[in-house]
Symmetry: C2
DNA sequence: TGACAATAGTCGTTGCAACGAGTATTGTTG
DNA sequence: CAACAATACTCGTTGCAACGACTATTGTCA
């Protein structure tokens, strides 16, 4: 056991304690997913983008990719650069509105995702499956509530 | 509203859905804290280290700092380098075991933390306070349970 | 005790993240 | 319709993160 990160100012900060639990848990669970993704040399962000693009085979504008991302990335351009260099996505300037650049997933990108699908699901089930459907739903509700007051 | 990141493979992955909620929530809540910390030019990691060292005025070995951190950092040396350069911590080689280097928080480091204490607490309360004590505790329990099966 | 392992930290390198400034295209309005 | 704003992206720069390889010190055991 490690962590505690308070001890001083034991002012009974239930909100901070919950926050720390949240960050810690996210970190611990992410680590396993990162291990899995590493077999394909993908970061979580890159994986996330590929999944977004798989869900939109007709392509998406960079801006739209950014909007749908889980963790906001202020520089999608270079993120897409790297994926394009590896042949996992393709880009093309739009004719109607020549400001926008459409990104599409390539067959190679789809193949990469497919190699990961089962392993990723297994990893998630392995980590969270023991909670059961009811508690997972409860957790989901609480997390959603956490984001309520974000201004 | 953004995010969804699935749509394909609607295989009803309750575990993955919970995972995404978790990461998303952690990201959203972190952002506010990062804003607050930015007023003192600190990253969450640096802030975390300072709080750890405040809790151990006699000093801690680098290794021990690493162990207590919320998010694991594989290169504590340079993290401490930067804090030392800014005068927020000090380091000194231990005499008993000359392999270890003790890190201590300096008065300047303490002052920095003190300037942040209230603002940080306010930020947490502002974001999570509306949940109430009961639901916060429930959330804490669920998050702890999430980390149970980590292998 | 002398060789080898274990521990503790440092440093080189690569690549990604964050921030801001810059460019190109389209929309708006006096 | 000309000027200005808004949009959509690109790029330069800085600094941090991740991964390994490396050095120094101590511990162990034949």
């Amino acid at each position: 056991m490690k962590r505690e990160a308070r001890k001083t100012r034991e002012k009974d900060n239930k909100e901070e304690a919950a926050f720390i639990e949240l960050i810690l848990t996210a970190d611990v669970l992410s680590r396993r997913l990162q291990q899995v993704l590493k077999t394909e040399e993908l970061s979580m962000t890159q994986y996330n983008v590929l999944r977004i693009l798989r869900g939109a085979p007709e392509g998406l504008a960079c801006r739209e990719v950014s909007n749908r991302m889980i963790t906001r990335d202020p520089d999608v351009t270079r993120l897409l650069d790297r994926l394009e260099n590896r042949g996992l996505i393709s880009r093309s300037r739009e004719e109607k509105d020549r400001r926008t650049v459409m990104a599409r997933i390539t067959p190679a990108g789809l193949a990469t995702l497919e190699r990961l699908d089962d392993v990723v699901q297994d990893a998630h089930r392995g980590q969270l499956g023991h909670l059961g459907e009811k508690r997972l739903k409860e957790l989901g509700n609480l997390l959603t509530a956490c984001r309520e007051k974000v201004g």
